[in-house]
Point group: C2
Chain length 123, copies 2
DNA sequence: ATAAGTAGGTACTTTTCTGTTCCTTACTTA
DNA sequence: TAAGTAAGGAACAGAAAAGTACCTACTTAT
């Protein structure tokens, strides 16, 4: 309520991408082509549940990072895509990703970067 | 355990700075001069408790973002400073901060950026 | 003798975040 | 007639993060 960090742009940026599935979602959308709900749900090998996908999408939408487009069809069709803010945010993933690669090299904990496919299309 | 995101450099980077007081700590240390425990504890207007400061410092240290230097004196003196990885990570705060400023302007929710003092010294 | 400063630790509770399971609507196809 | 599909919603359970309150050791100052 009286937390000044709510007014901090840096905190805002970090909070916008903090959420277990947000980086996954953003990496999926970062190639520019809109994605459907079911598409996002199925294209991960992990157990992303419907509830979690929905809640993460809602938060990203509320924060103005992604946009939701509903086609008045049956069966329903909904597409998600990055907003202008979202695109700008994804740009910063590149240096963060590079930091992570460097970090993993120097701390050599394990290999095999993931999310690489989506992220590579940022450059 | 079998979560591939543990191998994702981007996820690693975001997790490293996710923690309620980590950005505050890093912003304090980002000017390059080591800071003492009590100094970190007292220089925020908010209620950062001893327990939280300790746990956040421990995590940052475990992750190799900050280093801890104990002086064998009485009364005890402990200094915290950024590691090489930490300094590199803090560089990326600049574009993130800029994104936040831009975001706040376009979404005009409120003003008054915070943490500005520490962050400005990054550039 | 007592209190204060320094850098914490421990136990417990509360809050927030994630995950599980089942339900809905409206149309289409077998 | 029944099942399938797309995109969810709601209720509840469990895990993780954060907060509260109190405790430690050591030494110097009062």
């Amino acid at each position: 309520m009286r937390d000044p960090r709510l007014h901090c742009p840096l905190t805002l940026a970090v909070k916008a991408i903090s959420g277990k599935w947000k980086l996954y979602i953003l990496s999926m959308l970062s190639d520019g082509t809109p994605k459907r709900y079911g598409e996002l749900l199925k294209s991960t090998c992990e157990n992303l549940t419907e509830k979690m996908l929905t809640s993460q999408l809602r938060e990203l939408e509320k924060d103005g990072i992604i946009a939701r487009k509903v086609y008045p069809e049956v069966p329903p069709r909904v597409e998600y895509m990055l907003t202008e803010s979202g695109r700008k945010l994804c740009m910063i993933f590149e240096p963060l990703y590079e930091w992570g690669v460097d970090y993993m090299k120097t701390h050599r904990r394990d290999q095999l970067p993931w999310l690489e496919m989506g992220m590579k299309q940022l450059s």
